[in-house]
């Protein structure tokens, strides 16, 4: 048998060589750069965000300018397409590309603000329930169950028809309805973190509950929170499109993608592109957001473990 000599085991650690300082977030970002789904998702979302921010600069026409003499021009790849309207025009002769670009503002605005409102509500409820447990948990679980018993689309329709559809109403209704998943996920994540010894150490050091929640719990459930936020953003964008399609969401002449599909539905058998263009735009954006969310989940999952 081979016996190799080994260096003796020093009684005290003579020289400690530490790896370079990297925060968990920085490490996750490095992993993200080699994660295909994350890169594609981030690329799509980044592109749409840029498009929305720079809409007045990149849109070739005024999205509201009507020209009945130039209505329903097909997109450029059709034989009758025109270079002036790359994606054609709608039934009122408005430039489709410009409406699509301005429409991204509405989708992103609704997605972000609905996710923000529901995120605040759901996280507050979930963290409190998870951290305190017992009676607080019972009450929160009861509220969540009640909320889950309400069909989102029906309640949203009822609310919108009651107070009238508008951008503000859609954001509020969705924000107040979509917090259930935030609550459920943060509650479970908080319960897990709460039982870790570092939370016990913080308690033993005399930290106040507010400090424990802010410093010890929240940073450690952020991964889960980001993932749910992306899912709910996508969810809200699709719901807005559905509400607008039914005429109870964003009102004309705003260029919402759902509204564009609704306005095009009577032409869909003869000019199918009037609904496929906004439809594909929705598909790509929602796909991008979901890929981004999955990517964040994958690259942050192995953290803190060896």
């Amino acid at each position: 048998m081979t016996i190799r000599p080994a260096s003796p085991l020093a009684a005290a650690p003579a020289e400690i060589v530490l790896p370079p300082a990297r925060s968990p977030a920085a490490l996750a970002l490095r992993r993200g750069l080699s994660h295909g789904g994350f890169l594609i998702g981030a690329g799509i979302v980044g592109f749409v965000v840029l498009m929305a921010l720079a809409a007045p600069l990149v849109a070739p026409h005024d999205p509201y300018a009507q020209d009945v003499s130039r209505r329903l021009i097909p997109p450029i790849w059709h034989a009758k397409g025109s270079v002036e309207h790359l994606l054609g025009t709608d039934k009122l002769g408005r430039d489709y590309l410009s409406r699509l670009i301005y429409g991204s503002q509405i989708s992103l605005l609704i997605g972000l603000s609905a996710a923000l409102i529901s995120g605040v509500i759901g996280t507050a409820l979930g963290v409190l329930a998870g951290y305190y447990g017992g009676r607080v948990d019972a009450v929160v679980s009861y509220i969540v169950t009640t909320r889950l018993a309400m069909p989102v689309v029906l309640v949203a329709l009822a609310m919108a028809s009651l107070v009238g559809g508008s951008l503000k109403v859609v954001v509020l209704v969705l924000g107040l309805l979509l917090w259930d998943r935030f609550a459920v996920v943060t509650r479970a994540a908080t319960r897990q973190v709460r039982n870790q010894d570092f939370v016990a150490a913080a308690k033993a050091a005399g930290f106040s509950p507010v400090r424990i929640l802010a410093q010890e719990i929240l940073p450690n459930i952020l991964n889960a929170l980001i993932v749910v936020a992306t899912l709910e953003m996508a969810h809200a964008i699709l719901l807005e499109a559905a509400l607008s399609f039914l005429g109870l969401g964003v009102q004309p002449p705003l260029p919402s993608w759902g509204l564009m599909i609704a306005e095009g539905k009577q032409y869909m058998f003869f000019q199918p592109w009037v609904i496929t263009i906004p439809g594909v735009a929705l598909l790509i954006l929602v796909l991008g957001i979901n890929l981004l969310g999955d990517g964040v989940r994958d690259i942050t999952a192995p953290e803190g473990r060896h």
């Binding site: 048998m1 081979t2 016996i3 190799r4 000599p5 080994a6 260096s7 003796p8 085991l9 009684a11 005290a12 650690p13 400690i16 530490l18 790896p19 300082a21 990297r22 925060s23 968990p24 490490l27 870790q196 010894d197 570092f198 016990a200 150490a201 913080a202 308690k203 033993a204 050091a205 005399g206 930290f207 106040s208 400090r211 410093q215 010890e216 940073p219 450690n220 952020l222 953290e303 803190g304 473990r305 060896h306």
Partner: protein
């Protein structure tokens, strides 16, 4: 001398790129003899488990075999395909694992799991399988075999589950048994029984056993041959007698020297110092309700526990799992509330404080935790972790951060550690950070809950030396919770033995080891593995 059953020759396993070294196991050669136990010893990350997995064909996908061979019954195991492995595993080579709760299927009766071994290999009729399951349960010493084969894993104790695992492994009369730390998760008295069982059965059946362990006490009790691994390389091998009594390699010598001795050093009794922590009649019961209508099951975790702890003194609380030692620690620092009883810090009644006053006074009693990976917030830098407590109590941030760097120096870490996140540190280094965090509060009392149990023996020795040194320099009183009597012997001035929630015996360490009075203390001391080796080494 008979022929070896298994010959491992020049085995090399490559780790994936980005690991801390290129090979998990490098150029490893071992022989397994029939009727003999080979102990592979090493610290965490030494590749000892991987050599066991290679022998059972269960290597993780990320590891690639890059050289060598394992000869068994005329074949090279490394060249077998999955079908051949399935036939061989269980029938000729069996394995038992560290954690019997996760290695058994929780929704299947014990008897069915044993019988499944025959079923998987298409042997015997269902009736014969059941009979064999019962007789195997009897052979591994499970009580009332006829009835216990109908039990589910959660209805058995840890030791009984490990016996059931062994019964499964023995079912097909394998020539080789691979045991990966099979007693590490068990209490010391149970461990002694399981070791004895493995020894008896292995001799009765003339099996070759590959026994993976990190514990030299276990090695001394069970091994015929010993192989010592360090970072994937074999540093020494030979008969148990030769390796333990006359180690050749410097690494083996250092490892053996780091094993805490069962003979406690002489310590002067501390009687003059003021009492820092005084616990009186502390009690805690847990009630769990079995379903909506079931009778609540009441478990007394801690019953009327009382002790005094003086400044500069270390009181050990030892006991097996479920003895209430950890509950006592958590009651003492009020992480959980007692049913009744008092905890006094000097003249302060700690148990009578309201929420706000409690937050202010908590700094006087601090804790060091068992798991160095769960006890540091992964999202905060070491400096934030150490300085966080004092800042919460109103120390100016600049001063607290400067103090954090001093403390890092005190626990033997470089100042550059301050900006790092916990992910940059090894288990032992993390434990040092945990100690620095506790010391930052300038506590009168330090509670160490199994603070060195998760560490390798060499790191354990360093951390114990650090705690001893800090206690002497700072005059802190320390409550040291442990299941390991060797560790307790090394560091404690006095020891309290807990059993089923009660302190059954409390005495000066030296006296307790020399003349244990309570029968339970005697059985604990008798069960410590490697007792003989400790006396002569």
């Amino acid at each position: 001398m008979s022929e070896p059953v298994v010959q491992i020759r020049n085995l090399t396993l490559a780790l994936p790129r980005g690991a801390d070294r290129p090979h998990a196991v490098e150029d490893l050669s071992l022989d397994l003899m029939p009727g003999k136990i080979l102990c592979v010893v090493g610290e965490s990350g030494s590749g000892k488990s991987m050599s066991a997995y290679a022998l059972t064909g269960l290597l993780p996908r990320a590891l690639k075999v890059t050289g060598g061979e394992i000869r068994f019954e005329g074949r090279d195991l490394l060249r077998l395909d999955e079908r051949a492995w399935r036939d061989l595993r269980g029938r000729r080579i069996a394995m038992i694992f560290q954690e019997p709760m996760t290695a058994l299927n929780p929704v299947m009766r014990i008897g069915d799991q044993i019988a499944e071994m025959f079923e998987a290999h298409g042997l015997l009729t269902p009736k014969e399988r059941r009979e064999r399951a019962v007789s195997l349960a009897g052979e591994v010493g499970l009580p009332d075999p006829e009835q216990i084969v109908k039990a589910y894993p959660h209805q058995l104790s840890g030791g009984q589950r490990q016996r059931a695992m062994i019964a499964m492994a023995l079912a097909l009369e394998p020539a080789v048994l691979v045991a990966d730390e099979p007693t590490t998760a068990l209490d010391v008295t149970t461990q002694a029984q399981i070791l004895k069982l493995i020894r008896t059965i292995q001799q009765r059946r003339n099996m070759a056993v590959l026994f993976i362990t990190h514990d030299f006490g276990v090695v001394a009790d069970i091994a015929d041959h010993v192989a010592v691994l360090q970072r994937g390389r074999l540093v020494e091998s030979g008969s148990a007698e030769a390796v333990l009594r006359h180690p050749q390699a410097a690494y083996t010598k250092a490892l053996l020297a780091a094993v805490p001795s069962l003979t406690p050093p002489k310590r002067e009794p501390i009687t003059a110092a003021p009492v820092a922590l005084s616990v009186a009649n502390l009690a805690k019961t847990y009630a769990t309700r079995a379903g909506l209508l079931g009778k609540p099951r009441v478990v007394a975790a801690v019953k009327e526990v009382s002790f005094d702890l003086r400044r500069g003194e270390t009181l050990g609380i030892v006991g097996e799992s479920g003895s209430g030692k950890s509950t006592t620690a958590r009651l003492a620092i009020r992480l959980i509330e007692p049913d009744h009883g008092t905890v006094r810090l000097g003249s302060l009644d700690f148990t009578a404080l309201g929420a706000t006053a409690l937050r202010d006074e908590r700094r006087r009693i601090q804790m060091i935790f068992q798991d160095p990976f769960a006890s540091l917030n992964p999202r905060r830098t070491v400096e934030q972790i150490i300085a966080g407590g004092p800042i919460a109590h109103g120390t100016p941030a600049r001063q607290a951060r400067a103090r954090a760097r001093e403390l890092l120096d005190l626990v033997g870490l470089p100042p550059s550690a301050a900006e790092r996140y916990p992910n940059a540190f090894s288990g032992g280094q993390r434990q040092r950070i945990g100690i620095a965090r506790a010391l930052a509060m300038e506590p009168d009392v330090l509670v160490a809950d199994e603070a060195v149990s998760a560490l390798d023996v060499s790191v354990q020795a360093q951390v114990l030396a650090l705690l001893e040194d800090l206690k002497q320099r700072l005059g802190i009183a320390m409550l040291f919770i442990t299941h390991d009597l060797r560790v307790a012997a090394t560091i404690c001035d006095r020891i309290a033995v807990m059993h089923r929630g009660e302190i059954v015996e409390m005495n000066r360490t030296e006296a307790l080891f020399r003349a244990p009075e309570h029968p339970y203390t005697r059985s604990l001391l008798a069960a410590v593995p490697g007792a003989l080796f400790a006396e002569t080494a």
